[in-house]
Structure formats: C-alpha cells, structure tokens
C-alpha cells in the first residue's frame, strides 16, 4: 500500500507540467481560470497543440495516434491540465466517437473518421437525449427507416452541447419497435450539412448558448454510416457509458477551483468567519478523501478490475464537491455576486470591475455547474446503479 506515485510517474508528471508551461498560452489559461467564454477558435487552437504533441487522443491505441498511456498516466495528464487551467478537450469526437469506432467501426470507418477527428477536420456532437428521453434513454423516438441504401431520419434531439459548431453528429436512433425498447436502437453518423437538419439554440439561465436542439425532417443518411449492425445501438451506448472514466470525479477541476476560492476569499469578510472557514475545511477534506477514492478506483481499473458502479460513486461525490466549491465561491461574493455584465466574460473586456476577483462569474459558474449532477446520467440514476450493482438491492 503506497499512495506515492512511482518515480516514473513523477517524471511523467514533470514532463506534462513542462509541456503545459511551454504550450498553454497565458491568454487561454487566464480565460479558463476566470470562466470566460471560449470561442470555437480557442478550442481548436488547444486541440491542435495537443494533437501536434500526440496527446489529444490519449485513450486511443498507439497505432491510431494514441500516446500509449496507462490509466494512471491519463489521470495525471488530466489532473495537471486542470490545475494549469487548460481548456477541456471537447469530448464528442476524441473521447466518445473515437472509442466507439475503434471497437465497433469498420476498417473504412476508422480510416476515414479517426484522422479527421485528430486533425480537427470534423467537429462532432452527440445526439442522444430527446425531449422525452433523458435519463430514460431507452425510450427515445427519433426514427431511422431503411429505404434502399439509406436511412430516412425524423425526430428531435436535445441538449446537444456545442452542436452549433458541429460538422457531424452521432445519433442513437430507433430502427425497430419490436421487443424491449432497448433492442430497436441503432448508432448512426450524420453529416450536419444534410438537408432537413435544423439546429436551434437553447439559451441557458445565464443567457449562454452552449446547448442546442437538433431537428431532423426526412434526413437521408447513407446506410454505410451505420456503426455496428442495425439494432445494436444500445450495446454501443452502454459501452460508452461504462467506458473507463478516469476523470469523472473532476478532482483536478475541484483542486484548481478550491485554490482559487481560498485566494479570493481573503478579499472578503468571509476571511474572518469561522463558519465559512469550516465550510471550506469540509470541502477541502472531502476533496482530499476523494483524490484517494479516485486513485483507488483507478488502481483497480489499471489492475484489470472493471470500474463499474464505483465510477458512479466518483460521479456523485465528485460533482457534489465541485458544486459545493462553486457554492462557497458564490457565498464569498455576498451581494457582489449580483452584477452580471455578460461582456465581461469575453476577450478584451475593458469595462468596470465590480467586486472581488471572481464576482464576474461566481453566479454563472454556480448555476451552470448545477448541470454536473444532472447530465451524464443524473446523480439519482447513479444511485440507482450503485444500489443495484454494489448492494444488490
């Protein structure tokens, strides 16, 4: 039993840190640290840097452009990126479609799509949720009907993150109404430029445009865009959901956010409040514990154990910790959390400062991160999973 990383792992960490110091621009890191809006160009710039180094698709096998890391290395990399305030890698192509194609795609699909994910030719988005099918994904209704050498797709997807930038969407669609609802679902790749697709913005409660609705009206999709066989979409979706998620607890983000919280609190009266100090200490301890809980699950995975329901625990507790840090940040702002100058979240804002560091985005971040316990399988769904899988209840 040893919590220390090996000398090799420490050397790897140093290499990552050095590379980040040389390659992550102060401009980008500062935007991330202060929760500014990242443009499509910002994200593409970061992807290109990572891809040039060979670190973009860090889950992929070496022959397809992965760096050949083990789970601990991936964890260290993601952790250091978070601490350095690097932008998050947009996951849809690299972390979601990539693994699916690697496991279920044809050689032609792999050869065509994977390089285009790496070099940024294709921006992917995800077509899973529907207005009536969120946590209960199996009840989805968007229909794909085979007609000769193509499918005709009709229906609606929602919560499509960054869909406004996307060239392609991977979708779960209903190809059969026979049997259980799960059994009639297929996994389809759709060019966003096809006739009949309409993207409508969903504005979030802070006015941000981050997610979208995607409407399909008689959209023709070539049959070769099917991944796997017809009606095996649920198997693919489950594969992705249980796919190793080293970063699901978000301890890197929480660690960075907690450091920022401690720094900023000193500018407010909360610095003298023993009750606030206790709140910070509580989440600090919970995060120290969670780091080790996360490493334990990781070690089990690296040792060949399947991280199943344990990752649900990481998700629930990890998101609670991140949300609590956001909540404490908001508390520390007191009334100065109220001003909301949306331009202050864009590059080059020169308007007045109102409040301590972080006042400009404390409320926005607090509310925006309420999503953490909702998406990717709500925390209630995660608890159902743990109850069944770990406790046999």
């Amino acid at each position: 039993m040893n919590l220390n990383f090996t000398p090799e792992q420490e050397a790897f960490r140093a290499e990552v840190q050095e590379w980040l110091a040389d390659n992550l621009s102060a401009r980008l890191a500062d935007k991330v640290r202060t929760s500014k809006h990242l443009t499509k160009q910002d994200m593409e710039e970061w992807h290109a840097k990572l891809n040039a180094k060979g670190w973009l698709a860090n889950h992929w096998p070496v022959e397809h452009g992965g760096p050949g890391w083990d789970p601990v290395q991936r964890f260290i990399f993601e952790h250091e990126c978070a601490l350095a305030h690097a932008p998050r890698v947009v996951p849809f192509g690299v972390n979601m479609l990539g693994p699916v194609l690697l496991k279920y795609g044809t050689d032609e699909q792999k050869a065509h799509y994977l390089p285009r994910i790496l070099d940024g030719t294709d921006w992917w988005c995800q077509g899973y949720s529907e207005p009536g099918a969120g946590s209960d994904l199996a009840s989805l209704k968007t229909a794909a009907v085979r007609e000769g050498d193509h499918y005709v797709v009709n229906g609606q997807k929602t919560w499509t993150t960054l869909g406004q930038h996307a060239d392609w969407i991977f979708c779960l669609v209903r190809t059969s109404k026979e049997g259980k609802p799960q059994e009639g679902i297929s996994f389809l790749l759709i060019d966003m430029n096809t006739a009949g697709i309409e993207v409508r913005p969903i504005y979030l409660l802070d006015g941000d445009h981050e997610v979208n609705e995607v409407w399909f009206t008689d959209v023709k999709v070539p049959a070769e865009n099917l991944v796997g066989t017809e009606n095996m979409g649920w198997t693919i979706a489950k594969y992705l959901l249980t796919y190793e998620r080293t970063g699901i607890a978000g301890v890197g983000f929480s660690t960075a956010a907690l450091a920022e919280l401690k720094r900023v609190v000193a500018q407010t009266e909360k610095a003298d409040d023993p009750l606030f100090a206790a709140r910070v200490a509580k989440v600090d301890i919970a995060l120290e514990n969670m780091k080790t809980t996360n490493l334990r699950v990781l070690a089990a995975a690296a040792g060949g154990g399947a991280p199943g329901a344990e990752s649900s625990i990481l998700k629930v507790k990890g998101t609670e910790i991140r949300q609590e840090i956001n909540a404490l940040f908001l508390r520390a702002m007191g009334p100065q959390a109220q001003p909301f100058i949306s331009e202050a979240l864009e590059d080059g804002f020169n308007g007045p400062e109102t409040g301590p560091d972080g006042a400009a985005y404390a409320a926005k971040d607090y509310f925006n991160n309420r999503k953490l316990s909702i998406f990717g399988g709500s925390n209630e769904i995660q608890k159902n999973i743990v109850s069944k899988a770990m406790l046999g209840m």
Partner: protein, 342 residues
C-alpha cells in the same frame, strides 16, 4: 393567537394578487427585467395607485398598513411574481422625513437603499462609509435600481455611530449594470456628498429589510415548489410519472417541510417587528430563508433536470432570484452568528 388575516389584509392580498396575475405575468416580467432601464415606470405608478406602497407604512406615516404582517404579505406576493420594481428602496423610506415619505407612497419619489459595501454583507459595525460635517463619503455596492432613484438612503458612520443618511441622486456616482436575476443595480460612490442625518435608527430599517427579503424568498420558494411538484406529476420516466419515485417524493416532502418552517419564521419576524424581539426574529427569519432558499433552488433544479437550467423555463429565473435573496443583507452564516446574542 389568531392566524386568520384581517379583512383589510385579505383585501390587500386580493388586490396584489389580482394585479400581479393580470399585469405582471411571467412574459411581462421577463421583458421588464431585461429591458434597458430594468423596471417599469408605468407599472410602478399603477402599483402605487393601488396602494401597494402605502401598505408598507402605518397611518401616522401616511400609509394604511405598516405592520410586519403587511410587509410580509406584500413581499411574499412580489417574490412569487419575481417583481423587480424598487420596493426595497420604498420600504426603507420609513426613515425619510414625512414630506418625502408621502411622495414615496404616491409613487412620485423613488429612493434606493444603499447599505452593502465592498467585501461585506451586513455587519453594521464594519461600515466604512463615513459622514463628517454633513458630507458623506464611501462606496456602496449592488444597490438595487440605483439608476431609477431620486434619493439614496445610505447607512454610514458619523461621530455618533452608525446611522442613516439621505443623499440626493445628483451627488451619487453610479457604475450601473444588469443584475444576474433581472433588473438593474449599481455600485454607488459618494465623495463628500451633502447628506442629511435621518432620525430612524439603522437597525429598525435593517430589520424591516430582513423581514421583506425573507418574505420575498418565501414567495419564490412556494413558486419553485409548486412548479416542481407539477413537473414531477407530468414528466414520465421508465413508463411512470416521476412523482411515483419514492426518493423524489421524500425530497419533495423535505422541501414542503422547510418551506412551512420558513413561513413560520416570517410570521415570527413580522409579529415581533418594532418590538424588543425584532432583531432576534429578523435574524432568525433571514437565516431560515437563506438556508432554505438555497436548498429549494438546488432541489427544484435537480428534480427537474436540464430543463430548469434554460432561459425559457420560468423556474430558472425564480431559482436565480431566490438564490440572490440569500446573498443580500447577510447570508445564513452571518445571521446564525448574530442570533445567540440577540
């Protein structure tokens, strides 16, 4: 002991609710709250006309209410409708001389209440705004509807300790902005501004403000809870309504329980307003409303799921406003720490 409202208050509640239902529906509210000026002069005039400002004042102050229960009733209703007009400033007008107060009641004069300072939230003994020889200097933050105000009611220290002062708007320097939860506010800097010392003690005005914010939060909580319960009954998952999942049922019951406790806290504060227990029960109410408000807005969003995070869904705006009532005038920890000594 009597929990039935008087006939007068029943009529007042009817008037208030009818007006808000007819003239301040959610779409109207969103238009006003997001507009350039962040409030509606027209509706303000109508509300004054209906007596909604006058109800905040006693007869000898030129109004026809002014009891804690009147204030609670009005602000609970305003909270439920997410009203952004400058009622909090008007409430502080109790401190003003009779002439100005009557103008406020008529809707003609709009005051803003300027209390919070940078990095602080509530504490009277930390005021850094000072008055020397009738000149007031200092900075106040997040003053609601400051641009609309003709005068400012400002807390500050002079040689006799903390007190309230009146400053004309022409002597205030504003850095104005939209507020996260709708309407507008400003950071307000005073630089040797001519100031009139007001006779009303600071803490009586603060207690009124705490009661009003707590009652406002209560109204928003009820709205959030109703919306959430309705949604759970409508939305189906795995073939059955969400309202049939026991884990969600128990969480909804916890929401109701804490809201009932908040209602009691508001009643207590209203009952004791102006009496020896005023500060104690105002602190208890603000603590309860802030703690419960955070719980209700988080649970309402979580029990809805993603839809509650969208601009189009009205709960989102209720949750934002509810959260902000906890940020203003001291959060739960501030008032919890004050409570034992009160």
């Amino acid at each position: 002991m009597d929990f039935t409202p008087t006939d007068d208050r029943r009529m007042l509640a009817d008037t208030l609710n009818r007006f808000l239902t007819d003239r301040y529906d959610h779409d109207t509210r969103m238009k006003i709250a997001g507009s350039e000026i962040g409030w509606s002069a027209e509706l303000w005039a109508e509300m004054a006309e209906l007596g909604l400002i006058g109800a905040l004042f006693a007869e000898d102050e030129g109004g026809f209410g002014g009891h804690g229960f009147d204030i609670a009733l009005i602000f609970e209703g305003l909270g439920r409708a997410l009203v952004v007009e400058p009622f909090h400033g008007a409430l502080a007008a109790r401190a003003l001389p009779a002439d100005q107060r009557e103008e406020v009641i008529a809707g003609a004069l709009i005051p803003a209440f300027a209390h919070s300072e940078p990095g602080t939230s509530f504490a009277q003994d930390r005021l850094r705004t000072t008055v020397t020889d009738g000149k007031l200097s200092g900075t106040k933050v997040a003053v609601a509807q400051a641009e609309a105000a003709h005068i400012f009611i400002v807390s500050a220290q002079d040689s006799d300790g903390p007190a309230l002062f009146m400053v004309n708007a022409e002597h205030a320097n504003l850095t104005a902005y939209p507020l996260f939860d709708g309407g507008r506010g400003a950071d307000v800097t005073f630089d040797d501004a001519p100031a009139t010392r007001l006779s009303a003690p600071l803490d009586t005005v603060l207690n009124r403000a705490l009661l009003a914010l707590s009652a406002e939060a209560l109204g928003i909580m009820e709205r959030c809870k109703d919306t959430t319960v309705d949604y759970l009954k409508t939305r189906r998952q795995f073939g059955i309504p969400l309202s049939k999942f026991q884990a969600l049922q128990h969480r909804a019951v916890d929401m109701v329980t804490e809201i009932e406790q908040t209602r009691s806290a508001v009643i207590n504060a209203a009952h004791h307003l102006g009496g020896p227990g005023a500060s104690k029960y105002a602190a208890a109410a603000k603590y309860t409303a802030a703690a419960t408000g955070r719980m209700i807005s988080e649970e309402a969003i979580q029990l809805h799921g993603g839809i509650a995070m969208t601009w189009e869904y009205d709960l989102a705006h209720a949750a934002k406003r509810l959260t902000m009532t906890a940020q203003i005038m001291g959060d739960e920890d501030v008032h919890l720490r004050r409570f034992p000594a009160l």
